[in-house]
Amino acid sequence: MTSASSARDRVLGRVRRALADAPEAPEVTRDYLVSHTPDDPATVLDLLHENLADYRAGVHRSTRQHLPALIGELLTGHGARTVVVPPGLPGDWLAGSDARLRHDDGHLTPAELDSADAVVTGCALAVAETGTVVLDAGPGQGRRALTLIPDLHICVVDVAGQVVASLPQALPRLDPTRPTTWISGPSATSDIELDRVEGVHGPRTLEVVLVVE
């Protein structure tokens, strides 16, 4: 550890010498907007819908009662025969599907996940202005690999409790100690001539179900 701690001392020493004569920097002025969207749940929901769809996610609205049937239709529509199920997913969500269920107990290998067609999850939060769903590995979401390897991700958003308008509203509701994945549309790239193409390494299809009561 001798050389490691000396590198630390050298870097910190250089930082302190570099700043020896630096003037104090002003306090940060946070006069930017907390939200760019009118404070009306229907407007926020419409914006979320629109922005998700703009980045090529499939967007569906459903009641809680109709949810199992809709998930079943989506899985069938994409030809998904094997579905990964994270721990804590409400039992009835997959009641309308005849796909084979692979419950994750933490031991599914990357190769096993790769052989599954789809994953169904809830989320922690959805952000309307950016068209984003945020997963934080909580109940019904599972570890990060589950929503990464299967090619179809069906993500259920509870509109009443999980939708915010903006990033400044989203961050205070998230727990920094949890691994967090922010998903805005399916995997994409702009690497060929700076033109956006959907579908690279992450799920190529993202279906978001907005559950309204």
Binding site: R14, V15, A18, A25, A145, I149, L167, T177, D195
Partner: protein, 474 residues
């Protein structure tokens, strides 16, 4: 392995070849103009862009002012969350730390998320020397690696390649690195992306060690943030057992809340999106989710030298969005390779000479790789006054001497004298106007010839402005 920037010619020499390459100029023009308009649209959606930009600038300035405190804080938080923090004063130290960490796992291959810091330190070459193969997994980095090429853009390292060239590179070289390109591969971007997906899939699934950089690290929580599009980042950050992140010390932000500013500024400035497809945030290690071992390598490598310069230190605010490249008339024509470093374009012209110093001809020429038009400052999401730093660095380069710089200083002194003596200036202007038919398009003579080699001398008007004004206003 990919090439190296070391030993490259000075900017004007490299740029001269680049501007003659019509394919390159066409590719760059097409790509930069596409993104320019989109970025303007994404920014215009936010009424408070100016306030966000100012807040981003202030957060970074304040962080840099207390950088030692924030670095110690991030070290404590990452350690408390199960990570191990290493410090690297320079590229060699960082490369040695990473190489030793990979060796300790017993693995001989790693998957990499696109990272400017590891480009900067030449990590792939160092790993190769130690018998470790590093697979780049970002699509553009893959194109660069398979083409044995150099990156030419911060966000899109293969921006200098068009779809036809990319198809050829995939078809000819994928087999040398793993799964070959599909038969009959077309140049449709969707097909090229599919070929990359298939090629890299097996590597992700078997990877035991991942290497990344980070866009932000939050001091109060020890959280690291990687912003990406393709999902290759998620693969490298989630599937391997060991994750090593090499992060420049200036990437720290004090609070979790600060992300609300930068996650609005970065995607819109960078890919012109409201939000990039994927952002991963992790704090140390989590049981049963992601890597079991996490190493953070904090990299100095010239950053503290930059921090010591009161004008130049603002370059450390950079969040690597690359908006300045996309609007720069010099970058558009010269291309990224001419800048001779991982950081091309306007930000490279101020960052590279500060990180590396100006001892080489290339690095001393970089502050001159600009017309000082100021477009880069206008689009910068953290308001780095790039022209101000360029001029400041030019002064420093001029002070260190060299023939061209002595002449420039002499010319500046002469101009100052003239402007202080209006009668002499007036006489000179009249003489110049009356003799303008005799003026050459290029000037001969040492120093001056170089100046006019790449510029046409402006034509002089028929009479000096001050004479015209007098005639028409008296």
């Amino acid at each position: 392995m990919s090439g190296t920037f070391i030993g490259m010619p000075s900017f004007p020499e490299a740029a001269r070849d680049a501007v003659r390459d019509t394919t390159l100029r066409g590719n760059l023009r097409h790509a930069t103009h596409t993104i320019r308009a989109k970025r303007a649209g994404a920014v215009a959606e936010l009424d408070d862009w100016a306030q966000l930009r100012e807040a981003g600038k202030q957060i970074k300035d304040r962080t840099l002012r207390h950088l030692d405190t924030h670095l110690e804080q991030v070290e404590r938080a990452v350690t408390a969350a199960g990570g191990t923090v290493h410090w690297a004063a320079d590229a060699d130290e960082a490369n040695r730390i990473v190489t030793d960490l990979v060796k300790a796992t017993g693995e001989t291959e790693v998957v990499k998320v696109k990272s400017m810091a590891t480009q900067e330190i030449g990590l792939n070459a160092a790993l190769e020397e130690a018998g470790i193969r590093a697979y780049e997994t970002d699509l553009a980095e893959l194109i660069v690696q398979l083409g044995d090429d150099l990156p030419s853009h911060i966000l899109v390292p293969a921006i200098h390649r068009n779809r036809g060239e990319i198809r050829d590179i995939f078809r000819d070289n994928m087999a040398d690195w793993g799964r070959p390109a599909p038969d009959g591969l077309t140049d449709r971007p969707a097909d090229l992306a599919e070929a990359a997906r298939l090629h890299l899939r097996e590597k992700f699934l078997r990877a035991k060690v991942g290497i990344s950089g980070a866009n932000f690290m939050v001091a109060e929580t020890g959280t690291l943030v990687v912003v990406e599009s393709e999902g290759n980042g998620r693969m490298c950050l989630t599937l391997p057992e060991t994750l090593i992140s090499v992060v420049g010390i200036e990437k720290v932000v004090p609070t979790w809340r600060d992300l609300e500013v930068f996650l609005q500024l970065l995607p819109r400035s960078s890919t012109a999106e409201r939000m990039n497809p994927y952002t991963t945030m992790w704090t140390g290690t989590t049981d049963g989710d992601g890597p079991r071992a996490f190493h953070l390598v904090l990299l100095d490598n010239g950053r503290t030298d930059t921090l010591a310069d009161e004008v130049g230190r603002q370059a450390l605010r950079c969040i690597r969005c690359s908006a300045c490249l996309n609007v720069c008339p010099v970058y558009e024509r010269a291309g990224g390779h001419a800048y001779g470093s991982a950081y091309p374009g306007p930000i490279g012209a101020i960052l590279t000479p500060q990180l590396r110093g100006t001892a080489t001809e290339l690095d001393a020429s970089l502050p001159y790789a600009s017309s000082l038009c100021g477009a880069c400052y206008e689009v910068c999401p953290v308001a780095i006054d790039i022209p101000e730093v360029l001029v400041h660095l030019r002064e420093k380069v001029a002070d260190q001497g060299g023939r061209g710089h002595r002449l420039e200083r002499a010319a500046m002194r002469a101009a100052t004298w003239l402007l202080d003596h209006p009668a002499a200036l007036t006489a000179g202007e009249r003489l110049a106007s009356r003799t303008r038919k005799l003026h050459p398009r290029r000037l001969p003579g040492p120093g001056v010839r170089e100046w006019t080699n790449s510029r046409d001398l402006p034509e002089l008007p028929a009479e000096p402005f001050r004479d015209w004004w007098k005639k028409n206003h008296e």
